[in-house]
């Protein structure tokens, strides 16, 4: 897989996605789609976070802000002019990408933990602005009524599932393309030693802006269909801490150095969380996230991908 050409990879990814969706349609109940939507959404979020975090080395605490901006741009459009969901996804991406660009400019000179705290501050500012904006309902929340029939499939939740699946394939494809391109090498040089990279002539400032914009845009795209999924959106749930924590935990658990890590982390942690919600269902849900985080960080510093890689390496010897 490491040596596959980009075009082959995209074709394979779409094929896998299509097969997966076809099989999913065989499942007789809707719950699978509701739960699956969330896992796919986390694949996008984790991949998006990893572009800035894993590839470039800048830890973003404010994922919730970009995600929620995508969701709220959908709310704005819903109140102004109803549009089909794929178009809303693009709009959400554009808006969050623009904010990502702005954040990149603001934090140009910040490194390490300072950058992370700035992203946290940004999330608080954005949340306060939205809470005080009555057009989108403010803290009263906004109701989104789903149309009676979904395009293509009829069943609305299957339609949202499909949208998110396509988005996940695109996000993963972008991540892999970056990994093997000059852009990716630029990112990793920033991650490894930013000063050396600058000295070697890498345009670090420009690359950082690309990373924050791209990461922000993908997160916004992940958030755009949310209002149609949940049908009632208020700032407290849109900016929920769970989004920020999961978007960090999933790449960490899965492995931050490769495009496959966030997928593994999202599927693993996301599925566990969805199952826990409808089985154990209590304070223990949060305990699971905490315990898994600690466990993985202690025994598998490079995530699941790292564990597998070291096993393969050991076997080769």
């Amino acid at each position: 897989m490491g040596r596959m050409r980009n075009s082959t990879f995209w074709a394979a990814a779409f094929a896998v996605g299509a097969v997966f969706f076809g099989l999913s349609l065989l499942v007789p109940n809707d719950y699978y789609f509701f739960a699956g939507y969330v896992v796919l959404q986390y694949i996008v979020l984790a991949t998006a976070w990893n572009i800035l975090g894993g590839y470039t080395g800048y830890v973003n605490f404010g994922s919730a802000a970009f995600f929620a901006l995508g969701a709220y741009s959908t709310v704005v459009m819903y109140k102004l002019l109803p549009l089909p969901v794929p178009l809303l996804v693009v709009i959400g991406g554009v808006i969050s990408g623009a904010v990502g660009l702005g954040m990149g400019y603001l934090t140009l000179r910040l490194r390490g933990a300072f950058f992370s705290i700035a992203t946290l501050a940004l999330a608080v500012v954005v949340q306060t602005l939205i809470t005080n904006w009555d057009f989108v309902g403010g803290s009263r929340g906004a109701y989104i009524i789903r149309p009676a029939h979904a395009p293509l499939l009829g069943n609305y939740i299957q339609y949202l599932f499909l949208v998110m699946l396509v988005l996940a394939v695109i996000a993963v494809g972008i991540a892999r393309s970056i990994e093997r391109s000059r852009l990716g090498f630029g990112f990793s040089s920033i991650r490894d030693d930013e000063q050396a990279a600058e000295a070697a002539g890498v345009p670090t400032l420009r690359l950082k802006l690309v990373a924050t914009t791209l990461s922000g845009a993908l997160m916004g795209m992940a958030g755009a269909p949310l209002p149609y999924y949940v049908t009632y959106l208020d700032p407290a749930s849109g900016f929920n801490l769970a989004y920020a924590v999961n978007s960090i935990a999933m790449p960490l658990i899965g492995g931050m150095t490769s495009w496959i890590g966030p997928i593994i982390g999202a599927v693993f942690l996301g599925t566990i969380q969805q199952l826990a919600t409808v089985t154990i269902s209590s304070a223990l849900n949060l305990l699971i996230v905490g315990a898994l985080l600690v466990l993985f960080v202690v025994i598998a510093p490079n995530g699941i991908v790292g564990l597998v890689e070291s096993r393969l390496r050991a076997r080769r010897r």
Binding site: T128, L129, L286, G290, V294, V297
Partner: protein, 291 residues
């Protein structure tokens, strides 16, 4: 809204008292993050733990919460030392600290919160202290003891810590280890031991901060999350590792919140406070008094 001098004065005074509380809440992170480069994002959870410790001692034995916190200092110190030991063994020796350490503490944050929920339930807890209902009035300025007592003890705590850092051997060693680890080793002090002491002190301050918190407002396990942002914002704003900077930043944030709340509307206070932080970071990344 008319800006009367009286109202401005009382807003500033309230902000100062609030800032004193914020300083106590942040000083632990200033030590662990500012001096030791350990991103202890779980610090607010330890503060809540301190609040519940004060609550138990207050509810069972009628002890004043701040007195209870002083009694708990050795316990929290030991807890901090133990956590540092684990952190050191797992992370610092391997070398790649920052993100993994962060994830470790994130995990600790949730585990602590859930443990509190399982033991105490989700109802709000409060303490009964003799001075909580009393307010001193000086002209236009009201000083409720509920805020004044934590403020006073917090300032004493800051002064005490600063003296400790500048005047005692261990204190100076802590400052040294944050600046130049190798030099410290050359001077025959064990950096790991020094760092452990420092981290343990930072967790011990959480016991006091927790007592302050539960005096000021009712506490339930999940409110720690509201403080993550504030704590790191103040720490960074003040300049890492500088106690005077920390106090200045905490007071400043308290006053900004209070004045915005009074004159423009409380809804905007967080945006103004964090916007101020963003601006500072953009223009002066080292913070107000950073090194």
């Amino acid at each position: 809204m008319e800006i009367s001098l009286d109202l401005l004065l009382s807003a500033i005074m309230a902000g100062i008292l609030l800032g004193g509380f914020y300083a106590a809440v942040t000083v632990g992170v200033s030590i662990s993050f500012g001096m030791l480069d350990i991103v202890n994002i779980a610090h607010p959870a330890f503060i809540i733990l301190g609040s519940y410790a004060a609550y138990i001692l207050n509810a069972s034995f009628g002890l004043d919460p701040i007195l209870a916190a002083f009694l708990m200092l050795p316990v929290f110190y030991a807890l901090g030392a133990a956590i540092y030991q684990i952190y050191h063994l797992v992370f610092e020796r391997r070398g790649d600290e920052a993100l993994r350490g962060l994830a470790f503490f994130f995990g600790l944050l949730f585990i602590t919160e859930v443990a509190l929920v399982l033991v105490f339930g989700v109802d709000y807890r409060f303490v009964n202290a003799a001075y909580v209902g009393i307010t001193l009035h000086y002209g236009p300025i009201d000083l409720p003891l509920r805020m004044l007592v934590p403020f006073a003890i917090s300032i004493l705590l800051m002064i005490g810590l600063q003296l400790f850092l500048s005047c005692s051997f261990i204190g100076r060693a802590i400052q040294a280890v944050s600046q130049d680890r190798l030099a410290l080793q050359l001077m025959a002090a064990n950096p790991t031991k020094i760092k452990r002491i420092a981290f343990a002190i930072s967790i011990a301050t959480a016991a006091l901060a927790g007592a302050f918190l539960i005096i000021i407002q009712p506490v339930e396990p999940s409110i720690g999350r509201d403080y993550i942002g504030r704590v790191f914002a103040i720490c960074v704003l003040g300049g890492l590792g500088s106690f005077p900077g920390l106090v200045a930043a905490a007071l400043l944030l308290g006053v900004v919140e209070s004045v915005t709340s009074t004159f423009y509307g409380p809804s905007w206070a967080p945006a103004v406070a964090f916007g101020f932080l963003l601006l500072t970071l953009a223009l002066r990344p080292a913070g107000l008094m950073g090194r």
